[in-house]
């Protein structure tokens, strides 16, 4: 199959959706003729023009609130934040308006808005350009939260996002954007709430999110040589979270590690662990472990930055520790 980068995969999905559905438009800083800071809209301006690829002032709250109003009145905005960190200035609109609108209006108003942006630590982007924040959006009722790890998932999930009637946060890790992978031609949707089993295994379950999926898989290859068989699950969407697949895996392996770059306290790993301990208590043969990014603002300097994300050797060691329990 042909290969595309992660960004090319979402671009293909966006182009196809925009061709099909005239109500879709994109707003953001530099997403018009420039084609987006991360090439997320390259070539679309020439095809669809300035109303549908709309460069904005630096008014994050303003254009998010505006897009909420647009979504309420028959169009389908896609907000491209470039770095997702900038979404924080629009947090009030997100939590009090976008997430709650369908509910407040007893389902008679829809909120088909896609909010996308680059997340994650890396490239010495420092603390104002390294955020992810998805555990926060999973905490709030009303959002779909999507964190694809590979190009084919990125395309299928973005297609689903662009057809959704609900608000979707589509979060793309900076270190994945230019990764290549096989991507099917044509339109296809991947439903929200279905995890991908990235690797089957029998001895230990590892749930890995976003950029941690590949990092975990490479370690598993090494462990496999020693006969240690790890199952790796990529949830793909954080909300809804496919606990059934995780539960089933833990039932089989009896051991669970969650690897996630974002902060540990009240994070996704905590939620997964809490659900497993509640409904799967008898399945567990060992404690549940979490590997997270350090609970610290992202430092700039490369050696500091490197030290705060879960490293391959830590993943390996955590699996070994669990197996030794």
């Amino acid at each position: 199959m042909r290969e595309l980068t992660y960004v090319e995969a979402t671009l293909e999905a966006l182009d196809s959706a925009m061709a099909r559905d005239r109500s879709i438009f994109v707003v953001g800083e530099g997403i018009g003729e420039r084609g987006g800071n991360f090439n997320t809209t390259t070539g679309l301006y020439a095809k669809y023009g300035p109303e549908r690829l709309c460069d904005t002032p630096i008014s994050e709250r303003g254009f998010v609130g505006m897009c909420a109003g647009a979504a309420m009145t028959g169009t389908r905005p896609v907000v491209d934040f470039m770095f997702i960190d900038f979404i924080l200035d629009a947090f009030g609109e997100l939590v009090n308006q976008i997430a709650k609108m369908q509910y407040m209006s007893s389902g008679r108003i829809r909120m088909p808005i896609v909010l996308r942006g680059a997340i994650g630590i890396g490239h010495a982007a420092a603390t104002h350009h390294s955020g992810s924040y998805y555990p926060i959006f999973a905490h709030i009722p009303g959002f779909r939260v999507v964190v694809p790890a590979i190009p084919s998932d990125a395309k299928g999930l973005f297609t689903t996002a662009l057809k959704s009637e609900d608000p979707v946060l589509f979060l793309e890790h900076k270190s994945l954007l230019f990764n290549r992978g096989e991507v099917p031609e044509g339109d296809y949707e991947i439903p929200f709430g279905e995890a991908r089993i990235a690797r089957e295994g029998a001895d230990c379950t590892v749930v890995a999110i976003g950029s941690m999926v590949d990092r975990t898989l490479s370690e598993c290859e090494k462990l496999a040589e020693e006969g240690i068989s790890v199952e790796v699950i990529d949830p793909r969407t954080i909300a809804p979270l496919d606990m059934a697949t995780i539960m089933e895996s833990v039932h089989k392996t009896g051991r669970l590690l969650i690897v996630d770059e974002t902060f540990q306290p009240c994070g996704v790993g905590a939620e997964i662990a809490a659900q497993v301990i509640d409904a799967g208590f008898d399945d567990l043969d060992a404690p549940i472990r979490r590997l997270n990014g350090a609970h610290v603002p992202t430092p700039y300097s490369p050696p500091l930055e490197h030290s705060i994300t879960p490293q391959p050797n830590e993943i390996e060691q955590s699996v070994r520790d669990l197996l030794a329990e």
Binding site: S23, T75, Q97
Partner: protein, 333 residues
């Protein structure tokens, strides 16, 4: 453009038959609010309740120009906007009573009134968002090549908020069909606008965003009608947004049950009460022989009945079922 030039460009006065509709609308808001105030005292309303008494001319004058497809976004003080946009007193009162028959099925209450079927796109407990959402409706309408307009009603308090700045600028640069209606009632809760704004005028803020702006007497329904008519016409014909400052006053407390002293004088309240938009409009109708006293008395009695019936309806309506509490969070699933 100067205010004067702008005035000359304005739409005409209402047609004769519309004059009585305006009167009926003013009364519908006033009587409903007075009913809500009584119901609040009786404990039938459970949360906050901000009435629109004294400001009825604004919603009335603006919404007279709107079609159901036009989209209105409002604030915490939104009963009047909902009523003027076509939500029935029944649905408003029932919503405040927390009943399943309310316009938001009891999920919303006073500050979250929704009826998209008539273009009432919501009131909000948060100051500011309505400005942005109306801008967004304008964006939709432009993209969809419709002639509809988005309308934001908001208080003077919202003018100091970043949403005002960002929303007006966005509407300006894309020439969106939007009306920004500032209901300047001189106070945000108890804080005077003259204290909280470095520039105590709203109607002169247009140039900061490159948009038309004007100040009108918000207690004069005909003045509001004229200004809004011109603005709606501009919006529908692709000429962009307008900011209208309506100078007005709320004559009841900020919200029902709250103290209403210590921050404004009785003289000030009395002076504004003497400028009551309904009393004055009634007088104008009589003085100009647009209607006789019997006609007006009949309308008054009719509206009273409608509102009394609405309260009765609300009181007899069922509560929402707790089992349904998690419905509607998502459209799918």
């Amino acid at each position: 453009m100067t205010d004067q030039q702008f005035a000359q460009e304005m739409a005409a006065l209402p047609e004769p038959e519309q004059l009585l509709d305006l009167y009926r609308q003013l009364l519908t808001i006033r009587y409903t609010e007075e009913q809500l105030a009584r119901s609040h005292q009786m404990g039938l309303i459970h949360g906050a309740c901000h009435t629109y008494v004294g400001e009825e001319a604004i919603a009335t004058g603006v919404c007279a120009h709107l079609r159901p497809e036009d989209a209105v976004f409002s604030t915490h003080r939104g009963h009047g906007h909902a009523l003027a946009k076509g939500v029935s007193p029944r649905e408003v009162v029932a919503e405040l009573f927390g009943r399943a028959t309310g316009c938001s099925e009891g999920r919303g209450g006073s500050m979250h009134l929704f009826k998209p079927e008539v273009g009432m796109m919501g009131t909000s407990g948060i100051v500011g968002p309505c400005i942005l959402q109306a801008t967004g409706a304008g964006y939709s309408f432009k993209l969809l090549r419709s002639e509809n307009v988005g309308v934001a009603f908001f208080g003077d308090g919202a003018v100091n908020n970043g949403a005002f700045h960002e929303g007006l600028n966005l509407a300006s640069i894309w020439k969106l069909p939007v009306l920004f209606i500032c209901e300047n009632n001189l106070y945000a809760t108890e804080v005077p606008f003259a204290y909280s704004a470095g520039n105590p005028h709203v109607g002169n803020r247009g140039p900061a965003y490159g948009i038309e702006s004007v100040t009108v007497d918000g207690n004069d329904v005909l003045a509001v009608f004229e200004a809004a008519g011109a603005a709606v016409q501009r919006a529908r014909s692709g000429e962009g947004p307008t900011l209208i400052e309506c100078r007005t006053y709320r004559t009841r407390a900020h919200s029902e049950g709250m103290r209403d002293a210590g921050y404004r004088t009785q003289e000030e309240v009395d002076a504004w009460k003497a400028r009551d938009p309904i009393t004055n409009y009634r007088k104008w109708l009589l003085d100009n022989e647009e209607a006789g006293p019997e006609t007006l008395t009949t309308i008054e009695a009719e509206v009273k009945d409608v509102v009394a019936e609405a309260a009765e309806f609300a009181r007899n309506s069922p509560w929402p079922e707790p089992e349904t509490v998690s419905e509607y969070i998502f459209n799918q699933g």
